[in-house]
């Protein structure tokens, strides 16, 4: 087992304000890693720093290659896809066009067969393929955001709080989908969440992020038994 993503001393922020203060993280190939943290802990900043959307310093190695100086669109083509917070679907474009946009970085001829594959996996999207994405429900848009990311054939999927604004049942189905993608398609996932209960269920590895620092890391069982975590995130 080797680390697909290695992060060392990563700092990032917005203008003069530093949000992440040198975090370390390893995501093993084929695993689901979860970063738990409250609002304002720096979860979104962390993902944006990895995908190159904001200026960052430190070490970010993906698949044995440094991507600290790489432009975001190039990082996508290397195999890192991000599902942003609030889904970030192209609301004026049809579901189909959203999916095709997801494959923008690819130049192979299997885009059509991938489209069929993901429509099979997400039949709701297939039903609505010619509808504008903005007319989809929140849960459907989240599915679309994930399916769109998958169209780039990523090795690593970054998911930013997929449960945000979704009903509990839909959130549960969503996490099952993510788990299935991991188990059946071998997709490596880095997920940031506030919803600890669900996230711990599908995680292989968990980090706790607080005010821009990782304060604990370990297996889900170890993290769940930590008293501080239980009080802060599991409501027990």
């Amino acid at each position: 087992m080797s680390a697909l993503l290695t992060v060392r001393g990563l700092s990032a922020g917005y203008g003069p304000i530093e949000v992440l203060h040198g975090v370390d993280l390893d995501v093993q190939e084929g695993q689901v890693a979860v970063i738990l943290g409250a609002n304002g802990a720096g979860k979104t900043t962390m993902l944006r720093a990895i995908s190159g959307m904001i200026p960052r310093t430190g070490v970010v190695d993906f698949n044995g290659q440094s991507i600290i100086k790489t432009a975001p669109e190039r990082i996508v083509s290397l195999g890192v896809a991000q599902v942003p917070q609030g889904r970030g679907t192209f609301t004026d474009l049809t579901v189909d066009d959203n999916m095709r946009a997801g494959a923008y970085v690819r130049h192979d001829h299997e885009v059509v067969s991938d489209l069929a594959l993901w429509y099979e996996t997400f039949p709701r999207l297939k039903d609505r393929r010619s509808q504008k994405a903005g007319t989809l429900s929140g849960g459907e848009q989240q599915m679309l955001a994930i399916a769109r990311a998958l169209m780039s054939r990523p090795k690593l999927l970054l998911c930013d709080e997929p449960s945000l604004g979704l009903a509990p049942l839909i959130t549960k189905a969503l996490f099952q989908t993510i788990q299935r993608l991991n188990e059946q398609h071998g997709l490596t996932v880095l997920l940031v969440e506030q919803n600890a209960n669900l996230a711990l269920d599908i995680a292989h590895h968990v980090c706790l992020l607080e005010t821009g620092l990782i304060i604990a890391a370990g297996s889900p069982a170890a993290i769940a038994s930590d008293d501080a975590v239980r009080r802060a995130y599991l409501g027990a």
Partner: protein, 305 residues
């Protein structure tokens, strides 16, 4: 009835030029969220280049093609050299830069082509002698007017294929919709914006040549009123809608033509007629915008959370 058809065709012909320049505005608006105030003068400059090439003996169509190719490069350079550095400082700065570019290109035109102040003779692209017309339903349809309309419709159709059927068109639409998400799916947003500017400049070069051809003349002031009316057409259609720009431009041309030919013996002919055609056109746009602030086909964003 015959006259009515005639006026409508005349209106469609001049309106098609508004439509074309409005398309150039829409291409840039969709990418940047700004109206390109320099669109008209970019077209003027390209048209003067076309005139110069033709004056030196280059066949007209080839001169337009060369000028359009130069416009493509020029448009890209305007984005890379002016708009992008300005946009990094402040979101509003590109608007001011575009206004500066408008002034600058106009002055540069006067400097490089000193005689353009009085107007330079420009050949028509189509047969335009008095006898060059076809009669359809009793109305005399000038071949030149039909030609201009056809060029615009073909250009528009090509743009639609570009937007809807090509990968770069899809990328342009993602940037227009959500630039951050476009970056996240790997669209090189800067390169797409550069291409948008280049494309708008090419559209300007074609539109400018058509306009100068109809006027058989190009002068420093020729494109200013065209720009104003095209901006109005784009606003009427919805600034982010290419289809809206075309319909906006054509309707504006037809309204102008109908008002301009309003019969003298009809009521209120002191107020409606050739002198007030543009005023009336703008009034109608104003009323439409009061009812539909985002224009006829502009997206008032559909969003569900």
């Amino acid at each position: 009835m015959k006259e009515l058809l005639q006026y409508i065709l005349d209106g469609l012909s001049i309106g098609s030029i508004y439509a074309l320049i409005a398309l150039g505005l829409v291409v840039i608006y969709r990418g940047t969220g700004h109206i390109n105030f320099a669109q008209g003068e970019m077209a003027l400059f390209s048209t003067l280049v076309t005139w110069w090439l033709h004056d030196k003996g280059v066949p007209l169509l080839l001169a337009i093609a060369i000028s359009a190719a130069l416009a493509f490069v020029g448009g890209a350079l305007i984005d890379v050299g002016l708009m992008r550095p300005a946009g990094r400082r402040s979101a509003f700065a590109p608007v001011v830069v575009a206004i500066g570019l408008f002034q600058g290109l106009n002055s540069l035109s006067g400097l490089l082509f000193p005689k353009s102040g009085q107007g330079l003779p420009f050949p028509s692209l189509f047969p335009n002698k008095p006898k060059d017309f076809v009669s359809i339903f009793g109305a005399a349809w000038r071949i030149e007017r039909i030609g201009v309309l056809a060029v615009v419709l073909v250009t528009t159709a090509l743009l639609f294929v570009l937007f809807q059927k090509t990968k770069i068109g899809l990328a342009m639409r993602t940037v227009a919709n959500d630039a951050t998400s476009a970056k996240l799916v790997g669209v090189p947003t800067n390169r797409i914006l550069m291409f948008s500017w280049a494309l708008a400049a090419v559209i300007g070069a074609i539109g400018g040549a058509l306009k100068a051809g109809i006027d058989t003349n190009v002068s420093i002031g020729s494109m200013f009123s065209v720009f104003l009316l095209s901006a109005a057409a784009a606003t009427l259609g919805g600034l982010d809608s290419p289809g809206g720009a075309v319909i906006g431009g054509l309707s504006l041309g037809v309204i102008e033509s109908l008002v301009g030919n309003y019969p003298h013996d009809w009521p209120a002919s002191d107020w409606i007629g050739i002198k007030t055609k543009t005023v009336v056109a703008f009034l109608i746009i104003l009323i439409v915008l009061l009812v539909r602030p985002s224009g006829l086909f502009g997206s008032s964003r559909v969003e569900r959370v």
